[in-house]
Amino acid sequence: MSKIGIFNWHRLFKTDKFYLLVCASSLFVLIILFAITVFLLFSAMPALESSQTGLLGISWYKSSEANNILDFCLPLVFSTILSSLLALVIALPVSIGVALFITFYAPPKLAAIASWVIDILASIPSIVYGLWGIFVLCPFLNVFTGNLISSPPRVLFTLSIVLAVMIIPIITSIIRDIYTGTPHLDIEAAYGLGATKWEMIRLSVLPYGAQGAMSAAMLGLGRALGETMAVLIILSPGRSYSFNIFGVSSHQTIAGNIAAQFPEANSLGVSLLTVTGLVLFIITFLVNWAAKKIAKSGVANV
């Protein structure tokens, strides 16, 4: 029939109103996402168009001693990625371990408890993680780092640990579902060849779940990239490209910066923060897109 664009307009007019309603609803989702991009861009325009002198009117931009917007955003991007990657490096092995524990090693009751532990960890709001980080984890780490670094240790290392605890539930639940679906035949095949339990896992489970694990890791990474409250409470902010994760006041993430500077920001300031927000949006989008790509390619290989 007459097809214009993605709709079959002829059929559309003949069909019932409910179809129109649900179509409209889907279009609305499109519109919302479009609106998000448009409004953010619109809000970011003044800062993007402003000259360096205009930007110097923002007190915290001035004290950051940045030469232009790019120079302002890059240390934030660096710290955001560094903290999230470090969190992932800590979280991924633990997540895989817990997933294996639940699926293969634990007796049924213990497996139920472990699942329950993961579910509750996933429910904890990020503000509580922030409070726990500064009131429990910092003093705890202080015992070891006491005279070596700043006290309390409000540094990237501590933040990454808290971020790791936050993303472990996400990664674990996805990987656990994947590992539960490992083909029984592969498992039995490995046992049949005389493998020990760990060798069976190494042979059958890990390769099978590799792609899914990578996809889950990217999703966890996306979550860590956008975390705000824990950063706001725990991290002492600074600007540098330092890899010293124990150095105080050397890092600040994009989300933490937005939350910290927003109360003091005039309209140009909010505009500049929106620019950084857009950068964060793009980074998270790329990470999530990569996760989807990896997951899809994994499915295709089976």
Binding site: I124, S126, V128, T196, L203, V270
Partner: protein, 342 residues
């Protein structure tokens, strides 16, 4: 397969098996002589490594449990002190520093409920209708694939960016001083919509096709089939999805910090004035720090760490909310999945 054959080489070289065994590919169902791996056959090295990994994996469980126990302990131990009926039924209006009366979280509770209700009003219709479109009407056509991709993108939006979006939208129309509860609702709905769509999709997909076919066979229109047959069947699943998405956004602080602001007193109007919410209340109390009790000219009770006590108690209330929502949601979901034989 190469892994299995290389394993075979390792096995042979490490153990020096005396008997000849055919290591055929079991997947191809070829006959093979099985050997039961007796403990004599597995070398000490392999067994030690296996035990080592077993310990590591048990250790990872312990590693995960420690923060959980620590967090639950600190929230419950510190939070129980202030949870009184007074705390739950009074606002912070009139509370001065660390002096009694110590105030409560009523305005934050009501604010959280109202803002979340607002978010639900926005996101539930859109979410469910879109999911219906994706499952019932569109079978892989262009619009549905676009929408699917967009839902994935939307689920990755960081919460602070959603807050910035809601803020900039309202700032455009009402100026930079626009602070409303509904602005927070909009930000939260951006976070809720993808979750609702995905979970509703999952539940609608679980409805057996025979039901739909039977309904069509009786001459019922598609619209009525969906409304009268599919939706009621998937109803509890959809409700579960909504509960879980609420649990996800009810603890979000960052977007509400930017959009709904904070206030001491009760505000029942989503469309005017600032509105306090539980997570923002917690952050507020924390950031105001210790109260001054050294100059007690009023002679009233004074607690210098009252703000932290209130923060922990509010955190406990929030935590309980979320746990209940999650528990109810996941148990019903598991039951549904089991019923549908997944």
């Amino acid at each position: 397969m190469s892994k299995i054959s290389s394993f075979r080489v390792n096995l042979l070289s490490k153990n020096g098996l005396k008997s000849k065994v055919l290591f055929k590919n079991i997947k191809n169902n070829r006959l093979s002589k099985f050997i039961k791996p007796s403990s004599r056959v597995i070398s000490r090295q392999r067994r030690q490594f296996d035990n080592f990994m077993k310990v590591l994996i048990f250790l990872s469980f312990i590693i995960v449990s420690i923060p959980l126990v620590s967090i639950i302990y600190i929230v419950v131990a510190n939070g129980l002190t202030q949870i009184t009926p007074y705390f739950l039924t009074h606002t912070m209006k009139g509370v001065m520093g660390g002096f009694s009366p110590f105030g409560g979280i009523l305005h934050a509770l009501v604010g959280t409920i109202l803002i979340t209700l607002g978010a639900m009003v926005i996101s539930i219709p859109i979410g469910i209708l879109t999911a219906i479109y994706l499952v019932e009407y569109a079978k892989g056509n262009k619009l549905s694939s676009i929408v699917n991709t967009l839902v994935d993108i939307m689920s990755g939006v960081p919460s602070i960016v959603a807050g910035l979006f809601a803020y900039s939208l309202f700032a455009l129309f009402f100026g930079p001083t626009a602070v409303f509860g509904i602005s927070g609702s909009l930000a939260l709905s951006v976070l809720m919509i993808p979750t609702i769509i995905r979970s509703t999709q999952e539940m609608l997909n679980l409805v057996p096709n025979q039901l739909r076919e039977a309904s069509y066979g009786l001459g019922v229109s598609k619209f009525r089939t969906i409304i009268k047959v599919v939706l009621p069947t998937a109803f509890s699943g959809i409700v579960t999805g909504v509960l879980l998405s609420i649990a996800r956004v009810i603890g979000e602080t960052a977007p509400l910090l930017l959009t709904a602001g904070s206030i001491d007193s009760l505000n029942l109007n989503l469309f005017s004035g600032r509105m306090m919410s539980l997570p923002v209340y917690i952050y507020n109390e924390y950031s105001q720090g210790l109260a001054v009790c050294t100059n007690n000219i009023f002679g009233a009770d004074c607690l210098s760490d009252i703000r932290m006590q209130r923060a922990w108690s509010a955190a406990l209330v929030l935590f309980i909310f979320i746990i209940i929502l999650n528990l109810v949601g996941t148990t019903i979901k598991k039951r549904i999945l089991k019923k549908r034989g997944k």
